[in-house]
Amino acid sequence: MTNSEKNRLKDKAFQVFGVFCTFIGLVVLAVFLFDIILEGARRIDWDFLVSLPSRRAARAGILTAWVGTLWILVLTTIIAFPLGVAAGVYLEEYARKSKMANFLEINIANLAGVPSIIYGLLGLEIFVRQMNLGGSLLAGALTLSLLILPIIIVTTREAIKSVPRSVRDGSYALGASKWQTVWNQVLPASFGGILTGIILALSRAVGEAAPLIVIGALAYVPFTPSSPLDEFTVLPIQIFNWTSRPQAEFQTNAAAAIIVLLIITFMLNGIAVYLRNRQQKKIKW
């Protein structure tokens, strides 16, 4: 066997290995989806979406849970989006490469790996108790914002980094200030990437139950929230609650609620993909 044949064989082997690895993830996901849909799909109907919680599995619905989840999504976006993007822009465009900047960077990277329940405890002490927000939507959204800020900052920086140096130089050459360059050139050019990052971060936030239970989100809420200071529940808490009930009918409810939650996250991911593609088409250097 010649050297080049050997290399080609290795190449082939690695390709097979790669396909195998990809399939493991996909197959597991497919089995999971199939199982959930098989169990839960027949339970989803209009009544399920607009009914209040109930002890009778057949009458219980997820109205307050999905409305709570949407509230949390919107509030978290409003809080985390400007903070995260501003921090990312600062670190990438303004911060000098000093020890301080280095220190900040390492900490942000570390924060991205902190378990979510820790953020829950932080939120409980600061937002619920010190700021006296109680177990409200606002306290929940602030806590989840903390949770996803590191992710948003990191992806914002990556997106900004991918804007070519020449675009900035061109802007400066025309006499633009730093702010004008960032606002008119860098941010529009990297916006697709930033949005994708934010939406993926939100998809993570949507699935969190632990930090919200810690800050005092509830399991039984018979009314939909009407202001950010209202108490709330979210889909993952409802799912968690149902899966731990002894009656099998509640497991079916949980599966149905999981499908709804999956649809919400898939929709978010779909929006992310759409925005990224649109952005890529629009920008030509």
């Binding site: 209040l52 109930s54 005092g216 509830l218 039984y220 018979p222 108490e231 808490i237 731990s244 002894p246």
Partner: protein, 329 residues
């Protein structure tokens, strides 16, 4: 599968029918006592996930009684709920064990007085795999031997418990240390709340324990009665002998009757709610607690627990009435 579905539907139909009858009967007397739909306000409840189904059921029924009262229920666990209750953050706490002295101390510090009310029983059920043919019953002494801290790493085989049992490994399943169920079991069996061996499969989700015992022939586990009741085809219950014949001779199998009459000892545990005296200033909260005690018998059974004897509910109601009176002085 078809059979199962059919029986589920039947069950649901029977349940709905029963509740309708029940609410029709209850309606008359309720109106007499002047309970009004003019009540409003909010009642915040948190605590044990074991008691949650009962409180959820009561809150659900209370919705038609007083639609303007906003009752919310959380599930941060007995310990978590107690923390909030003793700081005065919630009106009522669901508890699957009595309040601990340290928690009572905290409540005192924050100037909180409270009333402890029993709402139902749960029979902690010891279970094995259905294919386990050797265990017919077990004594509390043996349970202690299995679960006490000293057993960690040393008691590993069935024949170490009773010599006629096989020389096979024993695999233990139980609720996590944060749960009130664990606290109660260790208190009742080992003699000290929270003291047990650490080398057992622990899960906060009792359905995981059901799965574990159902698939492991050498398993022994314990959890709430409702989880056994719903999975009777996958599990085998072990009758427990407390070596005290004054409350039922020999080994007793947990059931509606044996838990209710107290013969399934010491593993029958009461479930509680604690009411903050400040909450009794609100007529809605007082009405809710009374409604709770009036309906707990029916509703607790519906969600898988065992009601107290009728006279005990009467006692609890009197106790609460006294408490409200003294709180309003």
């Amino acid at each position: 599968m078809l059979n199962f579905k059919l029986s589920t539907k039947l069950n649901v139909a029977v349940l709905i029918g029963a509740t309708m009858m029940f609410s029709a009967c209850g309606g008359g007397s309720e109106e007499g006592s002047g309970s009004g739909s003019d009540l409003s306000g909010s009642i915040q409840i948190d605590g044990s996930s074991t008691v949650y189904p009962i409180t959820e059921a009561v809150a659900e029924e209370f919705r038609s009684e007083a639609p303007d009262v906003r009752v919310t229920v959380g599930v941060s666990g007995t310990g978590g709920g107690m923390k909030k209750f003793t700081r005065g953050e919630i009106d009522i706490v669901d508890a699957s064990r009595p309040m601990k002295p340290a928690e009572a101390e905290l409540a005192k510090e924050h100037g909180i007085t409270f009333s402890e009310l029993k709402v139902a029983y749960d029979g902690l059920t010891v279970v094995i795999n259905p294919e386990n043919t050797w265990v017919k019953d077990i004594t509390t002494e043996e349970l202690k031997k299995i679960w006490e801290p000293a057993a960690q790493g040393t008691l590993k085989r069935w024949n170490q418990i009773r010599s006629e049992w096989p020389n096979e490994e024993i695999h233990l399943y139980g609720p996590g240390v944060e749960s009130g169920t664990y606290d109660y079991f260790t208190e009742a069996v080992v003699g000290e709340s929270g003291a047990s061996r650490g080398d057992y499969t622990a899960s906060e989700d009792d359905n995981v324990l059901v799965q574990g015992v159902a698939t492991d022939i050498n398993a022994l586990g314990f959890f709430g009665f409702a989880y056994y009741e719903e999975n009777q085809n996958k599990l085998k219950v072990v009758p427990v002998d407390d070596l005290n014949d004054s409350n039922g001779k020999g080994a007793i199998t947990p059931s509606l009757e044996t838990v209710k009459d107290g013969s399934y000892a010491p593993l029958s545990r009461p479930l509680f709610i604690y009411v903050n005296s400040k909450a009794t200033a609100s007529p809605a909260a007082v009405e809710f607690v009374n409604f709770y005690l009036d309906n707990a018998a029916e509703l607790s059974q519906e969600v898988g627990y065992i009601p107290l004897p009728a006279e005990m509910y009467k006692e609890q109601k009197q106790k609460f009435e006294q408490f409200v009176k003294s709180a309003q002085k």
